[in-house]
């Protein structure tokens, strides 16, 4: 199932049963939203191309009893109205749900203005903010349900398309915030979103040369379930960890895991971070092309990882 469809189908069910649920958009549509727009017209408002007003309106609605979801392109609904999010949502702790379509390079061909490669970094700095980053439709549906009940503001990074299903239909531990998708003994990959799928492919490639890889998918980036993550790390006894993210190397998953290791004084862990380096590409291309440019393609990660693992030997 398309991950966006999973979100809007769930939202439709929620809103149909609760007339206080309001969905605001900044003139961004989706086929799977059409039913919501048609059947629940009093609960759907296109605010217009005005992200700052979007957040303020959402705050005002929430202060007067509504349960509000706001939807726009990830780059715009995080950066453009960051101050409003900081004051009206984070500081005032209003449970508005920000749906950010297109984290990372989802909208690669639309150019740098539409790339959202620092969203985790900036949203992490906001107290009370919950950040979700689902990798498949099952996770997305559950995140929609959890967000509906949230007492805190929420930011959801929503990728695009029919991503392979990694979680079982009856998986019911989504409140954990992360899961050990696969155990391994030689290397642990910690990742999120689209890169979780890349991690699966990478682990299959490494298996062919007898490197046994474990994978942790973090779908609730904040608050991080540090206890569970540390348990997984310690129980695995693995000393080599790589992080994968379609996000700046500054402030994302790699930074989070670095902080965790240092804060908990975990000795003898080596960490290598694969992320978008701190530079712009002068030329542009599709998502795969940008992955190649930034070394986030499977081939490069594979080669770099082997080199790095051998260095450890």
């Amino acid at each position: 199932m398309d991950i966006r469809d999973a979100l809007f189908d769930e939202l439709y069910n929620i809103a149909k049963n609760d007339s206080n649920v309001i969905l605001l958009t900044v003139d961004l549509g989706s086929f799977s939203l059409d039913k919501f727009k048609k059947d629940l017209k009093n609960q759907y408002i296109n605010i217009g191309v005005a992200e700052q007003n979007l957040v303020g309106i959402a705050a005002g609605l929430t202060l007067t009893g509504k349960n509000v979801f706001i939807y726009g392109i990830s780059a715009f609904v995080t950066s453009r109205c960051f101050e409003q999010i900081k004051i009206n949502l984070s500081y005032m702790n209003l449970p508005v749900k920000i749906i950010g379509s297109g984290p990372g390079f989802v909208y690669a061909n639309d150019g740098v203005t539409h790339n959202s490669t620092n969203d985790i970094a900036i949203m992490r700095t906001l107290p009370n903010m919950v950040i979700y980053s689902p990798c498949d439709a099952i996770t997305m549906s559950n995140i929609a349900k959890m967000s509906y009940k949230s007492k805190n503001p929420v930011y959801i990074r929503v990728d695009k398309g029919e991503l392979p299903q990694l979680y079982e239909n009856n998986y019911d531990n989504f409140s954990d915030g992360l899961s050990l998708l696969k155990t391994g003994k030689d290397l642990l990959i910690i990742t999120t979103g689209i890169m979780t799928h890349q991690a699966i492919k990478l682990s299959e490639k490494l298996k062919l040369i007898n490197i046994d890889v474990g994978i942790i998918d973090i779908y609730r980036i904040k608050p991080l379930n540090k206890k569970l993550l540390l348990t997984f790390i310690k129980e695995s006894k693995i000393k080599n960890i790589i992080t994968l993210e379609e996000h700046s190397i500054i402030g994302g998953i790699g930074s989070i895991i670095s902080e965790l290791i240092i804060d908990n004084e975990i000795n003898n862990i080596r960490l290598k971070r694969f992320a978008i380096s701190d530079k712009y590409s002068e030329k542009h291309g599709n998502r795969e092309w940008l992955h190649s440019f930034y070394g986030l393609d499977i081939e490069n990660i594979f080669n770099e990882t082997i080199k790095w693992l051998k260095y450890n030997d």
């Binding site: 005002g60 609605l61 929430t62």
Partner: protein
Amino acid sequence: MNKETVNLDTNYLKNKANFIRNKVLDMIILANKGHIGGAFSCTDIIVSIYYSNIFNFNPKEKERDKFILSKGHSCPTLYVVLADLGYFPVSELDTFCKNDTRLEGHPDINIPGIDVTTGSLGQGLSVGSGMALSAKLDNKDFKTIVLIGDCECHEGSIWESVMFSGHHKLNNLIVILDHNKQCATDFEEDIINITPITDKWKAFNWDVVTINGHSFDELLNCFSTIKNTQKPTIIIAETIKGKGVSFMEKELIWHHTVPKNDKIQIAKNELR
């Protein structure tokens, strides 16, 4: 609107405004901080909103009217009014801008009587639009009043809300513009002149009223007779920054300078 008896006694309101300005002066001197000029320019507006009983701000009533001080730096006046009305102890005013206080330099939702944290100009009106929209969606009667500054109108986010509110015919939304014609460091006309104000807001489908923001007759008459059209209303209140203290009126430095030495007594005498 309020079910209590409306108080249209302008002498009472004038005396109350004097009292409020006096307390604001004391508070700012004690703290050695505070945006006094703007606090004084909107005192009469805030007094007429809170003491006339035209609006209902009873905190026990969910469907009460809402007030947002979007020009949040003028909060000393609002703090004194809220304390005087019993939202929190008057003695707490002595903690303004001190350590371990709720009463910081801009309104905070942790203060009883304040619904929205403001201070970054241009944001309060959006929240007010959201409240007004909410009332429309649920056919509720409460009004939302937002007090903005003139230089605050430089912020693009103001105009996002203005367009939105005009388009959605939020006739339960009242904006009051404290038009004291001064920004922090220069006169409004020398930075960005926001006139013609009336033409701009009318173009965005708002009703526009212009009054003397220091005339209680005009303030009360305006609030009591807001036209029942399908448009939100802006009341352009022509005011004087530093109103009430002769040496402060229309002087740029009193945006947030604290009076010292003999100026304190001069101010106290004039506000007696």
